[in-house]
Symmetry: C3
Subunit: 393 residues, 3 copies
Amino acid sequence: MALESTVLTDRESHTWLESFQLAANDVGARSPFSVHKLNLRGGLRDGVDMIEVDNGRFFFAVLPTRGMGIWYAALRQEDKSLVRIGWNSPVKGPVHPQFVSLSEPSGLGWLNGFDELLVRCGLVSNGAPDFDEKGQLLYPLHGHIANRPAHKVEVGYDDAAEELVITGVVDETRFHFAKLRLATTIRTKLGESGFRIHDEITNLSSLPTGIELLYHVNFGPPLLDAGARVVAPIQAVVPRNARAVEGIGQWNHFAAEEPGYSEQVYFAELIGGKEGKTQAMLRNAHGTLGASLHFSPKELPCFTLWKDTAAAADGYVTGLEPGLNFPNPRSYEESQGRVLTLKPGETRSFDVRLEIHGSPAEVEAAEAAIATLQGGSKPRVFEKPQKGWSPAE
Amino acid sequence: MALESTVLTDRESHTWLESFQLAANDVGARSPFSVHKLNLRGGLRDGVDMIEVDNGRFFFAVLPTRGMGIWYAALRQEDKSLVRIGWNSPVKGPVHPQFVSLSEPSGLGWLNGFDELLVRCGLVSNGAPDFDEKGQLLYPLHGHIANRPAHKVEVGYDDAAEELVITGVVDETRFHFAKLRLATTIRTKLGESGFRIHDEITNLSSLPTGIELLYHVNFGPPLLDAGARVVAPIQAVVPRNARAVEGIGQWNHFAAEEPGYSEQVYFAELIGGKEGKTQAMLRNAHGTLGASLHFSPKELPCFTLWKDTAAAADGYVTGLEPGLNFPNPRSYEESQGRVLTLKPGETRSFDVRLEIHGSPAEVEAAEAAIATLQGGSKPRVFEKPQKGWSPAE
Amino acid sequence: MALESTVLTDRESHTWLESFQLAANDVGARSPFSVHKLNLRGGLRDGVDMIEVDNGRFFFAVLPTRGMGIWYAALRQEDKSLVRIGWNSPVKGPVHPQFVSLSEPSGLGWLNGFDELLVRCGLVSNGAPDFDEKGQLLYPLHGHIANRPAHKVEVGYDDAAEELVITGVVDETRFHFAKLRLATTIRTKLGESGFRIHDEITNLSSLPTGIELLYHVNFGPPLLDAGARVVAPIQAVVPRNARAVEGIGQWNHFAAEEPGYSEQVYFAELIGGKEGKTQAMLRNAHGTLGASLHFSPKELPCFTLWKDTAAAADGYVTGLEPGLNFPNPRSYEESQGRVLTLKPGETRSFDVRLEIHGSPAEVEAAEAAIATLQGGSKPRVFEKPQKGWSPAE
């Protein structure tokens, strides 16, 4: 038997399920799992659809209403306790897009809805807001895709692979402007300590269209702590601006909470392995917990590390961000050739896997794998912003 | 027995029906019809109320949540097959106003929700966005009315006339600014191949208020095809700008899909007949299908033809648009005396009828009727923009 | 027995009740009361939660979806007839925040939702819109708090005090910006002709944060009529601008409806009594009906009187507005030291009591109490705007 799935939402057939449940018993799976779709009510979350997925070892919550982002996740440890994966944003979401004013003249409205573990930034643009010479907003911070609801959502169990499969389709379309579609498939094997995202972005227009894409994957405690480190096979790393220059010596190390800490951002080029994949890991100080992103630098050549280790109350957090581009204003990225042009009807695929390492042995193994990717080559760590990497060059 | 109606929504009495159905049997009508109200869920349509009306021959979907616009329609032909009337917008609606950022600094947010057969533009303004000298948005594209929900909605059957009657009341009101009310009555006789809209716009304020109004009626395939034509009794027609000048020789003819086609817009004055009515028809190349708008040039003196025959993927479409004004920026229309001032408490009525011609004979008859309206007078087709018609004069 | 309450909404526990009722019988109260929570549907109110509270003598409607504002109230008179307390806004609400474009470049979107008896303005800012030198909106009119939904709502009956208790918690939070929380408790004793609001505003951030707060309490007929007066113990009163100067001689008197009347605003400092409380009353011409606000000038030192006695159709209304600051643009208030800085984790409390006087005797008693507060000191009424009070100085 192959994949058997249930349609939760479908624009074409006027389908929408208020709630939905699926458990191992329903499909005769050998190990326990559960899927639960609900529509949240009240407060800023009023109307947000959420799909809770538990593969037996790993839990995560998918948000169809927020562009199929992942709200948060949790790892079930051997003693059955849960370790939360994500961060404690001062924004308590999930926030319905109706409360996120992307069109605010400042371009910063996106920050009203920002609390996810994984949020896609794009598709027409991402990065810092971009304005014209009169100061009129052209592109708001991080674009629209995270605040657009999926119009088609399915949940299924793939018997052959023993995998739960969630799919969603989200359009970012404006008449006379870009017509872009994100079709995502999120898979997790029963017992897997993570999930795999396969995204396909299609230009539905008859005209070429430029896209930007960045996976803003965010971690706070317990994964992020004083002494935590990012481990990745580095070709080059460049501070974004003067503020990042201040911390270049410890660019991949994290300090304790610091009230008033102003974000530091580093742009990097990672080294891919034989199959073209790379791996970037955040590990906590004692190496008892880690999270790796697996992806292809060919698909996502621009890696951004966002350090925002302010006080817990303000969001002690870091973002590991594989992207098509760096999160500079779109016009700058365009000038550097990092806005990808999709031909009419063209589809590009992007794969990102999140893997949680729940024990010292697993963290060590990940570190060894990354060391292998690094091989003999020496990371180039630039002391200053570099031409072509950021407007602060 | 006169009109018997059911209140679906009423602000005053806290009435709101989640769903509603009415069929010929319920009222003892002699021929079949059905009315079905539902509240759509999921994606961009989440929360949109829709009333599906089928008079036995003609179907149309009314959108109370989108200012009582008409989403699309369909004609049942003799072989029972349905011909869809409307267009295939790249925006897949109906889009809930919560996802339409009218206040975006660009003034173009309206385009996020544009996919209807008939959408009213107004009431304070319509047309291209208008900005002050600093570039701050004054009036967004096409105004607010299409993204304001009706607060009173009724559906009824008029036994004497054998007509289905849908009424809706929509306010466009801001404290300290305009207080305008649209009260619409949409009627369709059993078996009629179309519908008749009677709109009353009232100035609820104690102060005079300027209004603009335009019926943006949009058609794509199969009505619109290569070789389709607009037939109308023309007093004068003027290209809006340089782009429209390029096509003035074929201003009322449509070509095949053309990727990247940039819109061409023509402003026209139509000739009214004895009862003061005029008729403008779009007919397909082979004259097997047509759609006529019937209205009074006294009520709606400004007729706009919008040609947007880009690729199907980007929306191959034309708009026939009777209006109080031309869709120029409001300040320009005001300078030309085309913003109508309503006195305190004053109501103005507007009637627009859509008639579908489902056979060559019907198309021919419509063409003949329009020829009669044209009579011996020769259309004045201007080669260039004219002073007073558009800012490109 | 102490307070027994029911949670209607709670973000933490995913609680949300579609509807809820509580009556005297349910808790064995000695006199009748009722509480009814419902979720409104249709029109601009679609999705608004409302809690109707009737203590036997006094009714009021709380709006959790609109920052725990009070929509309107009504006093039950001895003959059982109800006197409506509030105003007839041309905006017919309650309006769901999804239809209020706070981020409109003009900064005036707040006016789309303005029809409440009591609406809080704040918390980051209130007052006239504030722009940067390029004309980009910095702070919209009256801030965000009235268009943010409560994420925690409870309703209870306090047996010992014989009081109905409604609590709500509303966050005004943006990542990288202010993290403010409003926790309100609204109490009304059975038979009390009014309610008491106790607000606590907390700075959740680890950084100091500036706040503004103003209670915009609005009255129309029958309380407001030609000959109505504001009675308050005045230290000083200052016209806001040239328009207010025109009416300084009658600053606390109200005339009949006047179409096109342009608002007049007066800023005042009130005198507090022994317990630090003051009282400001609006009484109608014949002294048969009055409404008093009781509050502490230490907590809320800035009192604003807003006169907007335009035609009924445009909203014949006055606002009595105790505030932390005057409703000038935020940058001006900051320059005058009237933006209150909350330390990290700091909470400040504000108490406002609304008391309705339903008989000539009660109105007279209130007037006497205010006269006592005024004592021998003479009000300073400035003929012109004053330095430090408004930008028109």
